[in-house]
Symmetry: D2
Subunit: 138 residues, 4 copies
């Protein structure tokens, strides 16, 4: 894929479990972190939320498939790509790559929440999509 | 569902993100922890592995769907149930419940690995299933 | 010591590192979590902050000494005790105990912050001490 | 100080707590990670342990003092320096720096364990010191 954004990290001892391979909840921390690292170029989560009148991103669903174990010393690239804008969700795909081999691939389905009639509700995605495209072009 | 095992925890400040709701990678740590807590009654991961000639459990795939935000002070019950034994995988379903409401549900597809011809390979599930059933009955 | 509050947890696989013992940053997560669990009886961090006109607790300093390795299956009790109220700090001591043996002991020095002249500053501890004592007595 | 090794990371949303500042156990994960990142140039924890006949590093004590809150978007440099070799411990000092300002400083006192008479015991530091100096020079 042609990634929207990529982060890189070296796997260290503390990332791993007693089997010596990466503890899988860390993989979700890293894909979530890659998404938020992508937002930093637009000012970060808070600035993006304010620009589109949202109270925050939230997750509807996440998943990951593990293809190769990650071990201490591996240099991991995490590539993210926005793959679908639906009316009230955005789907973000991830791929973790070490030495040209896919270690995992994952997906997050995110919403953008707003307060309406005193309740948190999923908002329309159009303002966010427009904001990100305009900022990326500028 | 009729859970195989249940753990409980109170959500605290440090479990949450700047939006004040649980940081989702923690949910994976808690479902994984519930599975391993279930194994403790059989002696824990190491004893189970040795009993069936395995080098360790591994994950093929995980997923979760978030229905309600978890907040500070929520008392969360995490129910797990083994829902399918396939030839080389076991599927474990989870449900997070607060005050009778489902906060999330998730799934892990796990394998049991063995060394064969110098490589890690997914082993047959029958020895594990037999071991757990025999131990649970004793 | 006579603990102000105690929490308990069973150590699981995912709490441990490749050496098979607890990854030490988790110990800090658990002592911080014990402090915030203690606050839950007063309504939690947010309610306490509002009651005393603070924007939040913050840490000045933390430390821990490790006496025995924690392993999978250990049932850990974390005892906390408020050991000193100074003008602008409160010192909280912790002890982790497994089967009557001390596994670690630690300390947090916490402040309570307020906004003054547009800056975050450490506030006086008296309102907090008074609030906690009054609530504990009621 | 003249650091032995430095790592860098950008603070993201998920690193922070509901007060919007970094959750302090993460700081310990990052300093521990910096030490293990330093070991990668020598082949990593496992290679170093084997070279000096040890079963693993362990911690005797850790501490940190927080000077400035870390927030989303901060680019944090973590500098480490070995400050003291004692007979059976090595003391490692850390400093977290953002834009030239110290955000925290911390210390780890580490031992190197070996099996002797069937028990884990703290070993002599000389073999490790000699190994690291020889490797660094080569």
């Amino acid at each position: 894929m042609d990634p929207t954004h990529t982060t890189t990290r070296d796997i260290v001892f503390g990332d791993c479990d007693p089997a010596g391979i990466v503890y899988y909840p860390n993989i979700y921390a890293w894909i979530d972190g890659t998404f938020h690292h992508y937002l930093l170029q637009f000012g970060g989560h808070q600035v993006v939320c304010e620009a589109v009148g949202s109270v925050g991103f939230g997750l509807f669903e996440t998943r990951a498939r593990y293809e190769r174990a990650l071990r201490i010393g591996d240099r991991l690239s995490i590539e993210m790509r926005i793959v679908e804008w639906a009316r009230k969700t955005v789907t973000v795909a991830y791929r973790g790559v070490v030495d040209g081999h896919v270690a995992f691939e994952g997906t997050e389905i995110r919403g953008f929440f707003e307060m309406r009639d005193g309740r948190m509700r999923a908002g329309e995605m159009t303002p966010l999509k427009t904001f990100l495209e305009r900022e990326a072009a500028s």
